[in-house]
């Protein structure tokens, strides 16, 4: 609330009073780096819309003809409308589902509520391409599992997955998990006394939820919706696999086609479409700012929440049913189809199951290289993005210079260029710089692009926890006799470490499953696993695509299990050191008083 806001601003104000006037060399370097990495591609996107010569080729010639031609094409506006419909309906349905799930998990006693979070983490960790591919396979007529099942039951298969219905449905499955994870924090953090106050005022629990808790959570829900809408507008994979075959184009697939399918590539057209997308995002962000300002109603209190769960009677089984159906559609069926598909020698032939596809995938040089490339880019890109995230967050909160907010703002710019738009901007940006041009079609440009693409995620994961580390802790170290370097490394960085590792995990996993960037930037000799699987799917080798993806998912699952194990061990150790200290359950062991 009001006092808390001032608390949060206090360190920065203090720093400004005590600090230097001139930016340090480190800050100047970071500012240049941020402008180069994050702002430059967006600027180049606009530049590309008016340039008639492909990137990297000179001399530049300028014309608005590509821009105006694109904007006057009815097909473009049709794709634009389709994007709005796809993204809008996906967000509405998935948000409703995510709010229901978050409410079920945090407030009710529905059986199986404990599995929702692990399930959501798993779904979030699996790349969207997987869902698109597996549902394309599930609905494949006449051999997909769901298609066969529907045939067996109804005699006909009314389900055509390559349609609006399939596109929205599959997008909802993935989006729900992500939105649920984003909403879980605010749902848990909402001051329990808000609900209690409503109860003692005479409202029932259900009424309290709709009159008090949900409105108090509205800013969070709206924020999640807008983020979901932006990401939905930039979503390439699902429309590419499920929409395009049915002749449904959205902006990202139109951009991809302009770039990939026409020779010579229509750079100006693709860039113009990308600008259209950016415009939508900017309008949305402006709308959000206007509606909410920077308000956030969610507050955390020192009191541990010992709230009782809502007794819904028989209605609690509705929650269980929703959880089960969601798990079935989003995890069990796609995974089952994939595992089964990967064992089939030819997709749709259910006899003669074997591991042949796996040995092909692992022993073909082109494909085993894809795994090495993916591992490399995931680990390094995740690390790079997280380092940048820490550096930027520390600068924004601890530096005294006026420039300290610049890197953070540059990262925000990236939210305006979702998915494939960023890839296009990066092509413009890197191909116009002579030194970087030589990186084209190497794995290094993919790596660099993934770092840029995942830094916004790393920054979100890290900024919050760093903001909660009180400046007093470092100052206490300084007054205890530690040097500035020592206080930073021994206290601050040590406290940041858990958030850093979490961020590294998330960005690494997101990088490994990303298709938007390699699909434009990688060459056949250095493709990543998602691109490989996509190409295999396109070539009709569905079983091999399934095997490829199964190996990747197995790997991601192993990483997740490892992470869970490490967390478990750390918790045990922490519990051994300080038995029953609830504060340790806070993420990242943040300082904070509790009863």
């Amino acid at each position: 609330m009001s006092t808390a806001t001032t608390d949060r601003r206090a360190p920065a104000r203090r720093a400004r009073v005590a600090g230097r006037r001139w930016p340090s060399p480190g800050l100047i370097l970071l500012c240049l780096l941020s402008l180069g990495l994050f702002v430059w591609p967006v600027v180049m996107l606009a530049y590309g819309a008016f340039r008639t010569v492909p990137p990297g080729f000179g001399p530049a010639r300028w014309s608005a003809s590509g821009f105006t031609a694109t904007l006057s094409s009815s097909a473009v506006w049709h794709a634009f409308g389709n994007s709005l419909i796809l993204s809008g309906s996906t967000v509405l349905i998935s948000t409703a589902l995510a709010v229901y799930l978050a409410w079920t998990v945090t407030r009710t006693a529905s059986p199986l509520r404990q599995i929702v979070t692990p399930m959501a983490v798993l779904i979030f960790a699996i790349p969207p391409l997987f869902f698109a591919l597996s549902w394309a396979m599930l609905g494949e007529q006449p051999v997909g599992l769901v298609d066969k099942a529907l045939h067996a039951v109804f005699g006909v298969a009314p389900l055509n997955i390559q349609s609006w219905f399939g596109m929205i449905g599959v997008s909802v499955l993935g989006a729900t998990a992500a939105e649920y994870l984003l909403l879980l924090g605010p749902f848990l953090a909402l001051d329990p006394s808000f609900e209690e106050a409503s109860l003692v005022c005479g409202a029932s629990r259900l009424r309290s939820f709709f009159l008090i808790e949900l409105p108090a959570l509205a800013p969070s829900v709206l924020g999640v919706m807008i983020l979901g809408f932006v990401l939905g507008m930039g979503l390439l994979t699902v429309p590419l696999l499920l929409g395009e075959p049915a002749g449904i184009y959205v902006l990202p697939t139109a951009i991809y086609r302009d770039y990939q399918a026409v020779t010579p590539a229509n750079y100006a057209g693709a860039s113009t479409l990308a600008l259209l997308l950016v415009a939508v995002v900017l309008i949305l962000v402006a709308l959000q700012t206007r509606l909410l300002g920077r308000r956030s109603f969610t507050t955390v209190t020192g009191k541990s929440s010992r709230r009782e769960r809502l007794d819904l009677g028989w209605w609690k089984w509705l929650g269980t049913a929703v959880i089960l159906i969601y798990g079935l559609l989003a995890l069990v069926l796609p995974l089952g189809q994939f595992v089964l598909g990967s064992l089939e020698s030819y997709f749709g032939v259910y006899s003669h199951l074997s591991l042949n596809n796996y040995s092909t995938v692992l022993h073909t040089p082109g494909t085993s290289q894809a795994f090495e490339t993916t591992l490399l880019v995931a680990v390094v890109a995740g690390f790079g993005a997280s380092v940048l995230g820490v550096w930027v967050a520390l600068t924004a909160q601890r530096s005294a210079s006026r420039l300290r907010r610049l890197p953070d703002l540059s990262i925000w710019v990236l939210w305006a260029v979702p998915g494939i738009t960023l890839s296009l901007g990066l092509i413009w940006a890197y191909l116009s710089v002579p030194g970087l041009r030589s990186l084209y079609a190497t794995q290094w440009i993919v790596l660099l692009a993934l770092i840029v693409g995942t830094t916004p995620i790393a920054s979100r994961a890290i900024t919050g926890p760093i903001g909660q580390i009180s400046r007093d802790l470092e100052e206490a170290a300084r007054t205890a006799g530690a040097s500035g370097f020592r206080a930073t490394t021994g206290i601050l960085l040590r406290l940041i470490l858990p958030s850093f590792v979490v961020s590294w995990f998330i960005t690494g996993i997101v990088s490994s499953g990303n298709l938007d960037i390699p699909i434009l930037l990688a060459s056949p000799t250095n493709q990543t696993v998602p691109l490989l699987a996509y190409n295999q799917f396109n070539d009709g080798s569905l079983s091999q695509a399934a095997a490829t993806f199964c190996v990747l998912i197995g790997f991601v699952a192993a990483v997740l299990v490892l992470a869970a194990l490490i967390r478990f061990v750390l918790r045990l150790r922490a519990a051994g050191r300080a038995p029953g200290l609830p504060a340790l359950r806070r993420p990242a062991g943040l300082p904070g008083r509790s009863r």
Binding site: M1, S2, G185, S198, T301, E308
Partner: protein, 393 residues
């Protein structure tokens, strides 16, 4: 309007009993304070009465209604208990205006809109917040938020008002004025009020009766005056602000007065206050620093002004305490605090290290039972912190 009655209440967290066999009757229209250190179970008691917490055993009655009795499977949810509550964190809903917050209890009771508006403005006027009706609650100061929370609790004229340390987040000056306002509001409403605090001054000045709680059990129930002047046990004496608690043995008892000797044999000290016990019983002599006397024993041979009931000691420290001088005197191997009037002249001060006598004027000390109490923690409970979390964007 109703009395509140608790019989044999039990509540535990993870097998640790927070309340055990807790029984209390709060009469209709009374304001009773639950006083005790943090973790003593006072807030848990309040939350059980509100229905925010389920007791494991025992009965809770509000008026004629049995609202909780696990043995008989009775549990009335909070929204059906006809109560009003002021929370420590105020718990004002940030997405609503002042008016909407206060109108909420009437809204959920489906009162007619005209009556609702009239009543809300009436109660806002009463707490002096009528001018702020259209403000967002996040724009208010702590004291203003407190007033709105009070108005919200009272607007529907509930039979019972519950206060959970409502003043602990305010500064000292504001706390005193809000205390008066809460008392006025209680008197005007005619409701039965239960007020939880760890601040003994608040409990003494505000309530009709004070209930001192320690580790889930009631130590003493009495009027503020009884509690203040005649604590029953060493724990209560310590918690209510008796600085000096000396172990002593009863030597003589006659005409309602008792004489005790300290451990070293110093004494006797006579008092008619507190418990009476047979000679030979071990008791605790409790005395406030302000009520003791002090004087110099002088150098050997010099005249001594010590009265008969004085105990010798050595001055260990001296400090200025606003109009008085506070001495720490070592008596009988134990520290005794004495705050003597500051005569002004430097020569009247006693020097550190010098021998002194500590006098116990008749009835300055109270005899209490020794319950082997650990000294009550002095520190106030940490205030509830409110930190915004990163809004997801």
């Amino acid at each position: 309007m109703s009395a509140v009655e608790l019989v044999g209440l039990r509540k535990s967290y993870a097998d640790v009993a927070v309340l055990d066999d807790f029984s209390l009757r709060v009469n209709q229209g009374e304001l009773v304070t639950l006083l005790g250190p943090s973790g003593c179970g006072k807030t848990t008691t309040l939350r059980c009465i509100a229905g925010l917490e389920r007791s494991e055993r025992g009965e809770i009655r509000i008026g004629e209604r049995l609202v909780a009795c696990p043995e008989r499977g009775v549990f009335l949810p909070p929204n059906r208990r006809d109560i009003g509550m002021v929370f420590q964190s105020y718990a004002l809903w940030p997405h609503m205006t002042v008016f909407a917050n206060v109108a909420y209890p009437l809204r959920v009771r489906r009162r007619d809109r005209r009556e609702r508006n009239r009543r809300v403005m009436e109660i806002l006027d009463m707490v002096g917040m009528d001018r702020y009706a259209d403000r967002s609650v996040t724009q208010l100061s702590g004291g203003q938020q407190q007033r709105v929370a009070l108005a919200r609790a009272m607007v529907a004229r509930p039979a019972v008002l519950l206060f959970d340390e409502p003043l602990s987040n305010l500064d000292a000056k504001l706390r005193r004025s809000m205390r008066r306002e809460i008392r006025d509001a209680h008197d005007r409403s005619g409701a039965t009020s239960i007020y939880v605090t760890h601040d003994q001054e608040e409990a003494i000045t505000l309530s009709d009766r004070v209930v001192v709680i320690r580790a889930g059990t009631i130590q003493q129930v009495g009027t503020p005056k009884e509690i203040y002047t005649a604590p029953a046990t060493r724990f209560v004496a310590d918690f209510i602000g008796f600085e000096n608690l000396l172990t002593a043995t009863v030597t003589e008892a006659r005409d309602g007065s008792t004489a005790v000797k300290l451990k070293s044999g110093a004494g006797p000290v006579w008092t008619s206050k507190g418990i009476t016990r047979a000679p030979g019983t071990e008791v605790v002599l409790a005395a406030r620093a302000d009520e003791l006397e002090i004087g110099s024993l002088g150098s050997p041979g010099a005249p001594c002004d010590a009265p008969a009931a004085a105990i010798p000691g050595v001055i260990r420290s001296r400090s200025y305490a606003g109009g008085r001088v506070e001495y720490l005197v070592e008596v009988d191997g134990a520290p005794v605090v004495v705050r003597a009037p500051d005569a002004g002249a430097a020569s009247s001060l006693l020097d550190v290290g010098s021998d002194a006598w500590v006098g116990f004027p008749a009835d300055a000390a109270v005899l209490v039972d020794d319950d082997n109490a650990e000294p009550a923690p002095q520190a106030a409970e940490p205030a509830v912190e409110s930190v915004p979390v990163q809004g997801s964007t």
